[in-house]
Symmetry: C2
Subunit: 172 residues, 2 copies
DNA sequence: ATTGAAATAGTCGCAAC
DNA sequence: GTTGCGACTATTTCAAT
């Protein structure tokens, strides 16, 4: 249903990244179009090695290299963060499976806390969001549905640090 | 403090994307390394035009082209979704400003709902997460702090659809 | 802002280690 | 898995519209 390939499914086949892989990814995280020759020069290996590594990383789904729209630079977006408490996890799984197929749904996760499922959705208008919520809350098995609308996005890193070179301390 | 450029700040200067921009972005969203000549061929303009457009889009911060690690393909990650209710929005702004500087913090947004601030953080271990939460909850001005840990990521699209070609209806 | 053309640079395929 | 090389292709610069 989505126009994205279903490369990021539920399965979590783990791939082992070595030091070189990690350094390549870090460079491509700064600039996804950095020439392989430039990466090779910086890391002290041949261009062919970089090319082979990047192909392996992308083919395995370990990384994706894509253009991303900065939501702050676009017009108004109606973004909602939704928490769902379900009657059981089978129903949660069923609802989640439906949600991941929708283009408007950008984030779905099972969580441990006061609710079971966390969802982020994005629409061009509040009307679209209302339609979504109306359909969602008509679903059976939902005990509670808490919605928060995003007023302002301050940071959307879209990524995970492998190893932070900085201290993780949080001091004001 | 972060090793990322602070290109995605609080300011939301809106850029107007025309049809060609949108088509370019959609192609680069499928493959961030698609050659400009290929894009030009598909869209019926010269390669130089694509290059100029992409440069303008990236320089203005409207888009970023980056490699992203698929969290499902990595080893265990300790991801937490945190909701904060603050005594007032000045304190919320102050805390948010500190949070966006941290590499472990991947998402920060002001929201309207039963809490004020929504935050996503990622650590390699639960110990790192515990340290973060300990420091966070020692901050003044926090009325309530609700944390959910991610058990399984089902979808992380990291992006926004501009115009969906598919229906947005949510029917089971 | 877009284009075409020439010079430079990167990518790709492959044989060898 | 990595490398070097040759053929091919893309990118870059720039003058012109």
């Amino acid at each position: 249903m989505s126009d994205e390939p279903a490369s990021q499914g539920v399965e979590g086949a783990q791939s082992n990244l070595d030091e070189l892989d990690i350094e390549i990814v870090q460079l491509l995280h700064k600039d996804g179009r950095m020439p392989f020759t430039e990466i090779a020069k910086q890391l002290g290996v041949s261009e062919a090695t970089i090319r082979n590594r990047v192909q392996r990383l992308t083919n395995s789904g370990a990384i994706t290299i894509q253009a991303y729209l900065n939501p702050n630079k676009l017009g108004f977006r109606s973004i909602a963060l939704i928490e769902l408490k379900m009657v059981n996890l089978e129903r949660a799984q069923a609802i989640a499976s439906e949600l991941v197929e929708q283009d408007s749904v950008s984030y779905v996760a099972f969580v441990a806390g006061s609710y079971d499922l966390f969802v982020e959705v994005t629409y061009d208008t509040n009307e679209g969001l209302l339609d979504f919520l109306t359909a969602l809350r008509a679903k059976p098995g939902i005990i509670n549905c808490e919605t928060a609308t995003v007023l302002k996005l301050l940071k959307t890193q879209y990524s995970f640090q492998i190893r932070s070179t900085k201290s993780s301390s949080f001091s004001s």
